[in-house]
Symmetry: C2
Subunit: 146 residues, 2 copies
DNA sequence: TGACATTGGTCAGATTCCCTGACTACTTTG
DNA sequence: CAAAGTAGTCAGGGAATCTGACCAATGTCA
């Protein structure tokens, strides 16, 4: 567990990911969306257009459902999400994004697009396409929810 | 901040990264290295062959030096690292990996190599090479310590 | 149909991680 | 040498996360 001269492929992926996340968070904070935390955002990201169950959010974020519940409570208090009954299962409720969440998403999406343009500029169009192609393929064997 | 059908490049990078990290942790735990946490591991990863200062570890892990100090305390208690005076600066101490850390690193490296082989098998040699090439280039504009 | 297992979610309590602010000791710089 | 900067610690607190126990609704199958 000591730094090596040639980082493994995993580390090489983590670096740009973290850089992007940092940029998105900075932009959100600057736009006034400073009342949620990274952990809350990671849950919010996974809410589907029609709402998503707590258990599913927990699985995808790789946290316990208790933790997910705790984070959703806070998001609800801050006005980013609402909880509605799941019509198909009386035990369950769906976590839905509220207007405030869509507004934040717009800001986030714009930053992501900007950063991806910067990356493409640095790599060239061809390499950027190859990168996305390889990553998309890799998803098949690394994303349990692909 | 809601899930989209076409994940952005950052998310596409995070997925394999997390899959790899999970595999490494599982293997370490199975090999008996279950007495450290992910946060401690992220600090330990950044220790150089000749030792590294606390402040430098903190910067690279993007945590405060107080937090880094806390994590190094625990690693020291668990026998993974030692602290020795820095000969070039009497204020500073170098955090050094102990034998136990090298042993864990061997296990981790083996798993990383195995997972990379699986990735290469899935992508084909050419695409794997393109992937690493693009990621290495991207590091230039996303890694402050490149 | 009725017992049993499964699934969605909550409550309670503890631990870990990480931060800000304030401080000491040493080093660098003008 | 005085001032400013750097390495690290101490104190206190908040956020994220876990385990274990539990309840209610659903699914399964003899």
């Amino acid at each position: 567990m000591v730094a090596e001269s040639e980082p493994n492929t995993g580390v090489l992926m983590f670096l740009p990911y973290r850089a992007l996340e940092n940029r998105v968070f900075a932009a959100l904070a600057e736009a006034g969306f400073d009342d949620f935390t990274p952990a809350q955002a990671r849950v919010m990201q996974r809410i589907g257009p029609d709402g998503t169950r707590l258990t599913e959010l927990a699985e995808q974020a790789q946290i316990t459902k208790q933790t997910a519940g705790f984070l959703v409570d806070q998001l609800e208090k801050a006005g980013y999400v609402t909880r509605v009954p799941d019509p198909s299962d009386r035990r369950a409720r769906l976590v839905r994004g509220a207007a405030k969440a869509w507004a934040a998403k717009e800001v986030a999406d714009a930053v992501v697009a900007q950063v991806e343009r910067e990356w493409e500029e640095h790599l060239g169009r061809r390499r950027m396409r190859q990168l996305r192609e390889a990553l998309t393929l890799l998803r098949e064997i690394t994303d349990p929810w692909a």
